[in-house]
């Protein structure tokens, strides 16, 4: 079974957990890191990644290519990414349907784009440029959005067309589906009706928080600061029933808990995945 069709449950790795991860790795099937945190020349970060990669598959997640931006992905950054992917070969490399750079300025955020023809033409070219420069297929992740740009129902079709046009795979972030759909007043199941499940090669799960606005409405914030919510886990089970087994990553990037809490979260997701896949098989 190839990795992209496996029921592996993985964890976004944090350096403070290195010793725990090495001595208690049974809970984790694969590790994911952000590419931009491993572009230094040497030292401890690469030593840790090498040690993890000797024991488990790695996936690498980029946050800086700005594929949705007005300018083509930065050639220098692409060269550095290519070197990283050669140094620590991952099973999968993913990026976002978003932008984060404009001209000389980068912001550490994933900004929304309009899902129109002009954006499509641009993003499709940028994905081609990146896939050629990196010499591999990219997975593109559905973003979490807050503003009335990036309307979710158009997004699922936009991603489907990108997959058809560029051959890229998709990373389905189920938490982002819940967050974006809530923020735009769209039913998450309606969103998924438009989603090309056959192109999904990886799934992300994470926690989100809620903020009450002045008019009493609630905004969902994709802050990766807690356990995956029950609503996200329920939708994940429905997704798995459609996709079949897919490597699933738990992202916990803020208020990062101690290793035992993460191990328990991995076990919780594994149980949900096993149940969903068993039920789908029986049906």
């Amino acid at each position: 079974m190839d990795f992209a069709h496996s029921p592996a449950i993985g964890l976004s790795f944090k350096p403070q957990h290195f010793a725990d991860a090495l001595t208690n790795m049974a809970a984790v099937d694969f590790f994911e890191v952000h590419a931009e945190n491993y572009l230094g020349a040497g030292g401890e970060p690469h030593r840790q990644l090498r040690a993890l990669g000797e024991q488990r598959p790695l996936t690498i997640h980029g946050v800086g290519l700005s594929l949705g931006g007005h300018h083509a992905p930065d050639a220098h950054h692409l060269r550095r990414l290519r070197a990283l992917l050669q140094r620590h070969p991952p099973q999968l490399f993913s990026e976002h349907l978003a932008w984060s750079s404009h001209g000389p300025v980068y912001v550490p955020d994933l900004l929304p784009l309009a899902y129109d023809d002009a954006s499509f033409a641009r993003v499709a070219v940028h994905i081609d440029v990146a896939q050629n420069a990196l010499g591999r297929r990219l997975l593109i992740e559905n973003p979490s959005t807050y503003l009335a740009l990036g309307e979710p129902l158009a997004e699922a079709e936009f991603l489907s067309a990108l997959h058809q046009h560029t051959g890229c795979g998709l990373l389905l972030d189920v938490n982002n589906v819940i967050v974006s759909c809530h923020n735009h007043g769209v039913d998450a199941r309606a969103y998924l009706q438009h989603f090309p499940f056959h192109a999904v090669a990886q799934i992300h799960l994470a926690g989100h928080s809620r903020r009450v606005l002045a008019d009493g409405s609630e905004l969902c914030i994709d802050d990766h600061g807690s356990a995956t919510s029950d609503s996200v886990l329920a939708l994940y089970a429905e997704v798995l029933a459609r996709t079949g087994p897919r490597p699933t990553l738990i992202e916990w990037d803020n208020d990062v808990p101690a290793w035992p809490v993460l191990a328990a979260e991995l076990a919780r997701v594994r149980i949900a995945a096993t149940r969903a896949l068993t039920q789908a098989e029986a049906a």
Partner: protein, 253 residues
Amino acid sequence: MNAMRSAEFIAAQLDADAPSLTGFALGANTAARFAVHRHTCRSGLINALRTAYPSVVTAVGDAYFDALAAEFIQASPPSSPVLQEYSPAFPDFVGHFPPLAEWPWLSDVARIDWARREAFHAADADALSAAHLQSWPVETLMRASLGLHPSLYTLTSSNPAWSLWHCLQSSGQSLAEDGWRAESLQVWRIENGVHMRLLRAGDVTLRRGLADGLTLVDALQAACTLDLGFEASAALATLIGDGLIVAVTHHAQ
């Protein structure tokens, strides 16, 4: 969103005092929704600077640092998504920040923080052992150029930057009355640990000479000329003991 709008969007994100997005037809609660993006961007950059400059955070306090960083991120936002490289320009900004004019040493403390960051991420290289180096005839070694470890950074300060940096690591410790003098130091990595050593002027000259490609004998000579108390054999032993020599390049006579 067209290109001009993208630039406006980012500018409004970086500036907490700017009004929220104007001229964007983005539906109800645009300001509150845009605030999520502004917070993500600003807290991400301020946290990047806090992580890079922990001694400056200790020196000025959390609230002051955040205000200082907020000024900096607007003046010098990053151009690269590699935030561990953001930003070598901060020490100069601190040095020229008018409200900190009374603390002229702070920018040098910031440079130590940055050198430690650089050393942490520098390329790996195996040090040549004393035994290996001693296997060369002295004359041959003297006429060779020595490659230094990629993690080595030398800093010179007209202030006691090394002592002040150490005071900031142990809260409450203050500098002795007679401790105010210029200091030079090296920052480097052994295995995965970043270390620091106080240097005399001749040590700095030796390291910089070797880094510039001088032969060992020429670099030692330059150090002796500049620093009358410089002891070549002790300085060389330190260089070797610190694991700083990683290559020997012989030159044709």
